[in-house]
């Protein structure tokens, strides 16, 4: 039986009626096959306008409604709700956009009216074949996976766990803490980084709702929002944390020394080690790559001295599976690789350091117990040069973006240097100072004025060694002159890069990265903690360079977004998904190959749609040679009929 369709033409005051003859549209449509009722009204979206639709659906026993009005982005939901309240299926209501795409962009009333008629007829043709649909209901697993155990991941985990949601936290390193645990004091208040972070780390390890996997990586994620399955690889640490008593006997006897990652190579560590005293979990890890061999014959000294027998050379990599409903990416950053900065002698001269190495020098628990000493000869540097924007804001050679935190931490470094070396002179080369943040501008000003740090506006072209000094060649663009400084130490504010492995993880999660490799947010302003993949959220520097306060704020934002999904009894998914005509499908699997969401598979020789994964993009429909797969309510037949109407019919 043919549908009885009602067409409601909106004047939108004079927004539409000023250029489109709305009466004529209604009149022409009333003669169009299948249309049994038409009316025009001044504001369809107003209460009386909506009531008119509801009343006419009932009175005229309409099976479908076309509202010719503004863009569906504005009022599709409004009118579908109205239709639903009159007993219609919401998918039996469609919008013909005759404002943004017609009345607002044309002046000639006859032509605009003619176009509005065609647009509306096209939508009537589409509606004719629409099926009534129900949203797809998806159950929800009330657990969250957080990837990355820096301050971003720690904060998200705590916020979620304290909201009574179970959390699985995966960290690739032997301990959680991220970069923040390496920092000395933090701008702008100069509170000790470890002092404010370690209580949170302990809380994570003690929280009954948090399951912690350190020295682990996410290998595979399948499923969809509400129901993900993650495979997590637990790398063997060859030490049983439950037995280890932290007696430190093992490191005493271990004969192998390798660079210590925690101190960024400024010190060494043994092959069996604890990354830092407050590590969580508090246990040792055996670095199998540095160890002469797992076979006790090769060395086995640590095993011999370990009284509680916590060392187990037979540990194997283990893969565990966890089911979760939402995922938060908090994988943070790495510093820009030093091999890119050869002109500054980074990696070549021991007294050219990066910012994190300098943090370690400043740290009371660091290699020099908080004294600023040159790695080369352990002398106090009397002249020190800080260079900002190293590898940032340089679209030709390096990264085009601003790393955002370097202006602030360089000011902090220069200030702390002066606190340690009162008679020393600090220079800062900068492009401009970006200190947007509460108390930040004041912080930088104090560094300049109270500490007497010399800020030089300009770039450094070269750093080289001469007679035990580091010669820095630069320009002062304000004074317009070349500058040469013979320094004892140079500190580079290296660009912030997405952490290594971000690309691999993005593929695993099917989450997009931006052009710089950071995880892309769904909308730069309105959806800054959501990724484009439903159920995957972002926190911290993984999304873009930012400092600790912003990271913590974003982590809280990500947590509440996770709660807003996991607190629902079930999720609703749009029913506008692909469907297969099994009579036509030959199982060629071309659609399976093009689907961006892995929503298709071949089951018993026919394509099968996973309706929850399907986003309804229709790439499959355009690929299938036999039209065996189509998106509901936008089938080939519907498009064909829309075309016919749009082109004025076959008269």
């Amino acid at each position: 039986m043919r549908k009885k369709i009602g067409v409601f033409v909106c004047h939108c005051g004079i927004n539409i009626a000023g250029t489109v003859d709305v009466k004529k549209v209604a009149q022409e449509l009333s003669e169009f096959p299948g249309v049994s009722y038409t009316v025009d009204y001044v504001y369809m979206c107003s209460d009386p306008g909506q009531n008119l639709i509801i009343q006419k659906i009932k009175e005229e026993k309409l099976d479908g409604v076309v509202v010719a009005c503004c863009s569906p982005n504005l009022h599709e939901t409004t009118f579908r709700r109205a239709a639903q309240s009159a007993g219609l299926n919401p998918y039996e209501c469609e919008i013909a956009n005759i404002r943004e795409q017609c009345s607002w962009v044309h002046k000639d009333k006859d032509k605009a009216t003619e176009k509005a008629i065609k647009i509306t007829k096209g939508i009537v043709e589409k509606l004719r074949w629409n099926e009534p649909l129900q949203p797809i209901k998806v159950p929800v697993t009330k657990r969250a996976l957080i990837i990355g155990g820096g301050i971003a991941g720690i904060q998200t985990a705590l916020d979620l766990a304290n909201s009574d949601i179970e959390v699985v936290l995966v960290e690739k390193n032997p301990s959680i803490g991220g970069h923040m645990i390496q920092l000395s004091e933090t701008f702008p208040t100069l509170d000790c980084s470890q002092c404010i972070l370690t209580p949170k780390m302990v809380e994570v390890s003690k929280h009954p709702k948090i399951k912690l996997y350190t020295y682990s990586e996410v290998q595979e994620v399948t499923g969809y929002v509400g129901n993900f399955q993650a495979k997590i690889l637990k790398k063997p640490r060859y030490v049983d944390p439950d037995k280890c008593t932290l007696c430190d006997e093992c490191t005493q006897v271990c004969p192998v020394v390798v660079p210590n990652e925690f101190d960024l190579g400024l010190t060494g560590r043994k092959a069996i080690y604890i990354p830092f005293p407050q590590a969580i979990p508090a246990t040792y890890t055996l670095d199998i790559e540095a160890c002469p061999g797992v076979l006790p014959i090769a060395c086995g000294k640590c095993w011999d001295v370990c009284e509680p027998k916590a060392i187990d050379f037979d540990m194997k990599p283990e893969i565990v599976e966890e089911k979760v409903g939402a995922i938060v990416v908090a994988t943070g950053y790495d510093l820009y690789d030093k091999k890119n900065m050869a002109e500054y002698g980074y990696g070549k001269y021991p007294d050219v350091l990066d910012g994190l190495q300098f943090e370690r020098l400043l740290s009371a628990s660091g290699p020099t117990r908080g004294k600023i000493l040159r790695p080369s000869d352990h002398k106090e540097p009397k002249e020190i040069v800080f260079i900002q924007c190293v590898g940032s804001r340089d679209p030709e050679l390096h990264n085009k973006y601003c790393s955002k935190i370097c202006c602030m931490y360089t000011a902090k470094h220069a200030k702390l240097y002066k606190h340690h070396v009162h008679d020393g002179q600090a220079y800062v080369f900068y492009i401009d100072i970006r200190a947007g943040g509460k108390g930040y501008e004041e912080f930088v000003n104090r560094t300049m004025e109270e500490e007497g740090v010399l800020y030089l506006r300009g770039k450094v072209s070269k750093v080289f060694e001469e007679n035990g000094k580091l010669v820095v060649w630069g320009v002062d663009t304000l004074a317009g002159q070349d500058i040469e400084i013979r320094a004892d130490m140079v500190v580079l504010a290296m660009a912030i890069r997405p952490s290594s492995g971000a690309e691999k993880l993005a593929k695993i999660l099917k989450a997009a990265q931006d052009t710089d490799g950071f995880f892309a947010e769904a909308h730069p302003k309105l959806r800054p903690v959501e990724s484009l993949t439903a159920g995957v959220f972002l926190a911290g520097v993984a999304q873009a360079p930012k400092d600790i306060p912003d990271t913590v704020a974003q982590a809280g934002g990500a947590a509440i977004k996770v709660v807003s999904i996991l607190s629902q009894p079930e999720l609703l998914h749009s029913p506008l998904v692909a469907q297969v005509n099994e009579h036509l499908c030959t199982g060629c699997s071309m659609c399976v190959d093009v689907c961006p969401f892995s929503a298709l598979s071949i089951v018993e020789g026919k394509a099968k749609v996973n309706e929850v994964l399907c986003e309804g993009c229709g790439t499959c429909a355009a690929t299938c040679l036999r039209s065996a797969i189509e998106v509901k309510n936008l089938t080939h037949l519907q498009v064909h009929d829309m075309l016919t109407a749009s082109l004025g019919g076959l008269k």
Binding site: E100, Q101, W104, G618, M642, S646, L647
Partner: protein, 140 residues
């Protein structure tokens, strides 16, 4: 040659970028010729070559497919498929006797209202000298 001919154009616009971009042209009140009837689809990747041939078959003088910029597709890579598919189709059109200029593909983001109007103006200008499309039009 009929330079007064008003070409009939169908534009397949993806919902997330190009249709939103044409909405933006509306919001900014940027005028352009009324020859184009927009058909909103989910993604440029859902536009089957069949749709384009059908449009010509039903009497279109020109067909436009417009999607998100490469890399910006709401469905990750739908427009990449569209780009390949449409480039091939354009190359095939001369073999069935159709001027390839009658078919065009473009990238218009949700913010590029002005670009949308420029594309339409340019397309209309390009189609006018070609006159009515009769090669594929279904005989009446």
């Amino acid at each position: 040659m009929n330079s007064e001919h008003e070409p009939k154009i169908v534009a397949f616009l993806c919902k997330w970028c190009s249709s939103a971009g044409s909405d933006m042209a509306g919001v900014s009140r940027l005028e352009y010729p009324s020859n184009v009837i927009p058909i909103t689809v989910m993604c440029s990747g859902s536009v089957s070559p069949l749709y384009i041939l059908s449009a010509f078959n039903l009497g279109a003088d020109g067909v436009l497919v417009s999607g998100c910029h490469p890399g910006d597709c709401h469905y990750i890579k739908g427009n990449m498929y569209a780009r390949r598919r449409m480039a091939l189709l354009k190359e095939l059109l001369p073999y069935i006797g159709l001027e390839p200029e009658r078919f065009q593909m473009s990238w218009v983001s949700a913010a590029e209202g002005l670009k949308f109007t420029q594309i339409i103006k340019e397309f209309v200008k390009q189609l006018k000298p070609l006159g009515p499309q009769t090669q594929l039009r279904r005989s009446l």
